[in-house]
Amino acid sequence: MKILVPVKRVPDPYAKVSVLPDGSGLDTTAIKFEINPFDEIAVEEAVRISEQREAEVVVVSIGKPECEEQLRKALAIGAHRGILVETEANLDSLGVAKILKKVFEKESPDLVIMGKQAIDDDANQAGQMLAALLDLPQMTFAAKVELLDGKARVTRETDAGQETLEAPMPCIITTDLRLNEPRYVALPGIIKARSKPIEKIPLADLGVEPECRVHTLKLRPPAPRQAGRRVESVDELIAALKEKGVLNG
């Protein structure tokens, strides 16, 4: 079988990010970039599947040449080959889903496993949109993935409890945080990844236009948090909230 895993290059989730003075974007000169943590979980899950049964894991990223770093890391974890769709364009979730649709059609995988959201814009849309565009079943926020004969079974954690879904393959699965804990990338794996193939495809060659309906007007950092004060009683708390206009009457 073949598993397609999209990976997004995002700022290190633990990095302190700062906004450029003109508000046009983030200051990226000093930040480290990583695989989106949810995508890394997806890579780990796909690689674990390939360790259990015959499966090829193909990782795909969309963006600038630097995305190759994240693809190499995915290959070091154990993916078999990579695809980099090259574009400098800004994309929103639908734009990404339309590109992934083309990659899906080119590769015809049995399964797509991807992060439920990326930690940069937290949109949580691309997986669902991809499923809709391909008219394929989707199982989101997977906390457990099992492969049965021609079907996939996903356990997801909901507010009401655990929910178990089954869908025929091919289908789209998005990963939640508790699906697995990604392994340490072993040094021999990193060395082996150097010789694994990464196919570079200019976006135009996929026959799809870069699309972005979401326009970013300006970024600004959240206002610094004001110091709080300690209140002695519930009455005092209520009074203080009324004073601030948070409570009426």
Binding site: A30, Y184, A186, L187, I190
Partner: protein, 553 residues
């Protein structure tokens, strides 16, 4: 400008000792690691943070099986196989990268010592000096972590004077019979192999001794002040029978095995000192931000900021020296063909290439750790003196690094002695100065040489002052050149650190020079160096506080 003898055909600036002549070309720094290399370093760093740091209390209590299982996990990820050539099952990485990985694994002293010995001096004698048969017999077990290794040179009455060792190796029909006691053996509790040095009729000779050989026993654990999680015990050899093929290198040439393993060992020990120093700076920065006095976080106070800045600046200098030396070591080792029949000779000369840099790097990095551990504790105030906070452990663990792998005193004497005996001081007499620090160093060398000549090696104080000056020169130069090569915020931070360190080192250089001149009848010689008045303290402190510690990995 005259030059040092050049046994490896190294290019300018990449020869050992070139810095003494003011050469700085081709300086290697951590900023030059590529993305793959950085991924390896990050893996090591996250392994240490997630697997080692949460279990420090249990490690210090020597919980059964815990340290061995951590070492095995680290080996499974390839960390012990970094340097060994691919033809003997290693990954064949550069020594610089292997050292950066070791640094990232070294946030805790006990784990660092255990793993560092296993992956370093317990292994490198076999890689560098072992026959193909010995390599095949032992390296697979050591690289995979199935076995742990140890290195046994010191004895109860033979420490700094290592070649006075008394352990005997008598010839038998099919090998050797070893008798004696080896002391301070790291990993003794766990090791399956020991690199043992003993005396035959031909002189000091190195052997690979297995724990299972008849006549080999390990004594009880020493009760140490720190590094409680590491194992340190005696190795007793009571007529231990060692087969002939376990003799390493050449009979009577064991001192070359010992000293070259130690050259590389000292180079790496600098990394093993920077690991805990990084941890100390992290705790210091975090605590300073969170602790409030007089209504403000203490990180806003000038003296706290100065401590953080001085620690970071010295760290930057130590790190710059370490990886510059790494570049020199790699250059020397890359000339060696591992498949050649005379590889041991070539490896020996390659390991000798960095002898001076490795020694001063060890001294400087362990003194950097001493400063960082001490100031981190000071920043914690009374809380730092309790076991409730992690700095007390770092402080205790740090102390021994100035003692082992050659005390810092022995290393200082070694540097001056070697520079004298190799004729380097003499060559420096007509060397032109490249800057004011270099000028002060050269004038001090001239004053000492004109007054004492080769006899200066019998004056330990003069030796120490000249070694310290060489060390500070290497630190100042390495930090400054690295900082000018770097770009972006790392470049800015580096230039601030280099400038502050230059100022700190300037004070030390001037004091050492004044003493040399005084002892050589030139008391009036000018020694003062320019100073920028600590203008970089705030920028460095801010960077350290924002990053919760030293900002570069």
């Amino acid at each position: 400008m005259s030059a040092m003898p050049d046994p490896t055909g190294a290019t300018q600036g990449l020869r050992g000792g070139a810095f003494l002549f003011g050469e700085t070309e081709d300086l290697f720094s951590p900023e030059q690691f590529d993305a793959d290399s950085r991924l390896m370093v990050e893996t090591a760093y996250s392994f240490c943070k997630k697997e080692v740091l949460p279990v420090l209390d249990r490690l210090d209590a020597q919980e059964d099986g815990l340290m061995e299982s951590l070492v095995r996990k680290a080996c499974e990820l390839g960390f012990a196989a970094c340097e060994a050539p691919e033809r003997c099952g290693g990954l064949g990485l550069t020594k610089s990268l292997a050292t950066r990985i070791l640094e990232a694994l070294s946030l805790n002293g006990s784990f660092s010592t255990t793993f560092g010995v296993h992956a370093g001096i317990a292994q490198s004698p076999i890689v560098l000096f072992g026959s193909d048969a010995l390599r095949e017999k032992y390296l697979p077990h050591l690289l995979s972590g199935e076995w742990m290794g140890a290195y046994a040179l010191s004895e109860p009455n033979s420490g700094s004077d290592a070649l006075s060792l008394q352990t005997k190796a008598e010839r038998t029909a099919d090998g050797y019979r070893l008798t004696g006691t080896k002391m301070w053996i790291s990993n003794a509790k766990w090791a399956q192999t020991f690199i043992v040095f003993a005396r035959t009729n031909e002189g000091v000779t190195a052997f690979v001794v297995e724990r299972s050989f008849p006549g080999v026993t390990v004594g009880p654990e020493e009760h140490k002040m720190g590094l409680k999680g590491s194992s340190t015990a005696r190795l007793e050899l009571e007529g231990a029978l060692v087969p002939e093929e376990n003799l390493l290198y050449v009979e009577g040439e064991g001192h070359r095995v010992a000293f070259n393993a130690l050259n590389l060992g000292r180079f790496k020990l600098a990394a093993m000192a920077l690991g805990p120093a990084r941890a100390a700076l992290h705790h210091a920065a975090q605590y300073a931000k969170q602790r409030k006095q007089f209504g403000r976080p203490i990180s806003e106070f000038g003296l706290i900021r100065e401590k953080l800045a001085r620690c970071a600046a010295m760290f930057y200098a130590a790190e710059s020296m370490l990886y510059r030396t790494g570049g020199i070591v790699d250059h020397a080792f890359q000339q060696v063909d591992d498949a050649a029949p005379d590889r041991a000779e070539k490896y020996r000369r390659a390991a000798e290439e960095c002898a001076i840099e490795a020694s001063i790097g060890k001294v400087f990095a362990t003194e950097t750790l001493a400063l960082c551990a001490d100031e981190a504790l000071q920043i914690h105030g009374g809380y730092g003196f309790t076991e409730e906070f992690p700095v007390a452990r770092i402080y205790r663990d740090a102390r021994v690094t100035r003692i082992y792998e050659g005390t810092n005193e022995i290393n200082r004497i070694f540097v001056a002695t070697r520079l004298t005996k190799k004729g380097v001081f003499q060559q420096l007499l007509d060397c032109e100065a490249t800057d004011e620090c270099h000028d002060l160093f050269l004038r001090s060398v001239r004053a000492a040489w004109e007054t004492m000549g080769e006899n200066l090696i019998s004056d330990q104080q003069i030796c120490a002052r000249l070694s310290d000056m060489a060390m500070n020169l290497y630190a100042v130069q390495s930090a400054a050149v690295r900082a000018t090569q770097a770009t972006g915020p790392q470049g800015e931070f580096g230039r601030a650190c280099a400038a502050l360190w230059r100022e700190q080192a300037g004070v030390a250089l001037a004091a050492a020079a004044a003493e040399v001149f005084g002892r050589c009848g030139k008391a009036g010689e000018p020694v003062s160096l320019s100073s920028s008045g600590g203008k970089d303290v705030d920028a460095i402190a801010t960077a350290v506080l924002e990053s919760d510690g030293y900002p570069i990995l």
